[in-house]
Each structure stands twice: as structure tokens, then as C-alpha cells.
Symmetry: C2
Subunit: 129 residues, 2 copies
């Protein structure tokens, strides 16, 4: 049985993909894939997604150069979420942080804090092209 | 500004929560929260979710005893995904694996493999009550 046969895409044809840095275990981002972007991810070894807000197929890093080389693709018991191990070039987050999860709270309601350094500003990332 | 003000729940009032084991970095599962389940998670220090398939509020471990003690709650740049660090009792997966992501492919299309031992069978987990 193929790996694709175990997957359940939602009513919009999408499945969430958690992107984890293989060497550190850090969760870098979560984004959505449709079947075509998953197939392209498998075929090229670089992550491709479907942007719900822009209704657009995109390769991670196509603007920023911050691509993700795929090392493993796992899927959960229900087949409705992917967990992809990658090697990340530069900042995964469009705001210039290594991980999109750069803010956290241990005391919700009382605010939050930034938990990691900003590697680059968005202007540095997207202005440089 | 409150942490809640940074979050975006989707059209169904839900936000995906990635659950990560704090000590190992292992991603254990992904499930959905509504605002009430997130508030309950914060208030009790145990993860609570909203089941889309059962349309039901649930505490992780309420049947299995496999609860999750919350250590940190992070959120991403878009405010539409949570990343929660936990200490997991027993198997996170209802199929008896430590992580729901117990299968992976490095060669999609050619199948997949089980990547970790099954700690208990579902019968052992849910039959024991």
C-alpha cells in the first residue's frame, strides 16, 4: 500500500504539515499541503506548500532562499497530519526567526515573550532580492 | 496585550495544537483546540482539545490515563498554530505508540515503515478501565 493511500486530505484537499529541524528537533513551522505540493515535495526533496491566504502553490524559500531539504516524512495515526524532518537554510520564519514559534507564554493571559533571537529582518530577507 | 489576542481561530473556532515532548523534542501528536479547551488547558495545566469527529470537548488521557502536563505554550508568527511542550504519561497515541507519528516514508510511493515500538495495544489501554 502506498503512503498516499494512508493520507486523508480535508474538505479543501489539504493536509497540515509540521516542519521539524532534524538535527535539533525544533519545530520550525506548520503549513498546508495539497496532494500536488506533497508530490512535488517528494519529487524534488524540497518542501512545497499550498497557501490558503494567497490560494497559491509555493516552494519554501522561493523568495527568501531559505529552502528546506526533506529528510523524512512521517504521518500520524489518523493519516491527517504530516511531520516532515528537514535541514533548514537560514530562517524558517518570514519574520526572520529560525522558527515561526518564537513567542510563548507560560502564564497565558499575562502576555508572552520572545524566546529566540531574530536572525534577520523581513527587509533583509525579502529586500535582498 | 494578552496572548489570546495574538491568536487566530479558524472559521470553525479552532486552532491546531502541535504537542511536543519537552525532554526529547519528539512531536507526539497534533489536535485541535477551541478557545474553551485552550482556556481549560491553561487553567488546569493539562491539555484539553476539541474533537472534530466527535464534536466533543475532551481532556487528553481522560479514558487512557495518558495525560499531558503543560510546560510551555508557543504560537507562530501568524497566530494560527500552537506549539505546546508537555510531559507525557505513557503513550500519546490511541494506538499505543509513544507518538502518533509512528510511521514514515523516505521513499514515498514505495510504502512506509513503522519507526517505533508499540508500547501497549489499544485493548490494553482502553480495556483496562
Amino acid at each position: 500500500m502506498s503512503f498516499y493511500d494512508k493520507l486523508k486530505f480535508d474538505g479543501s484537499g489539504l493536509i497540515p504539515a509540521i516542519i521539524q529541524e532534524r538535527t535539533t528537533g525544533r519545530v520550525l513551522m506548520m503549513a498546508w499541503m495539497n496532494r500536488a505540493s506533497l508530490e512535488q515535495t517528494v519529487a524534488t526533496g524540497k518542501t512545497h506548500f499550498w497557501s490558503r491566504s494567497r490560494q497559491k502553490f509555493w516552494m519554501k524559500g522561493e523568495s527568501s532562499g531559505h529552502t528546506q531539504a526533506v529528510k523524512d516524512i512521517a504521518f500520524d495515526c489518523d493519516g491527517d497530519t504530516l511531520l516532515i524532518q528537514v535541514e533548514q537554510i537560514g530562517a524558517a520564519c518570514h519574520e526572520g526567526y529560525r522558527s515561526c514559534f518564537f513567542r510563548s507564554t507560560q502564564d497565558a493571559g499575562a502576555g508572552f515573550r520572545i524566546t529566540e533571537p531574530q536572525l534577520e529582518t523581513p527587509e533583509q530577507i525579502y529586500g535582498k532580492k
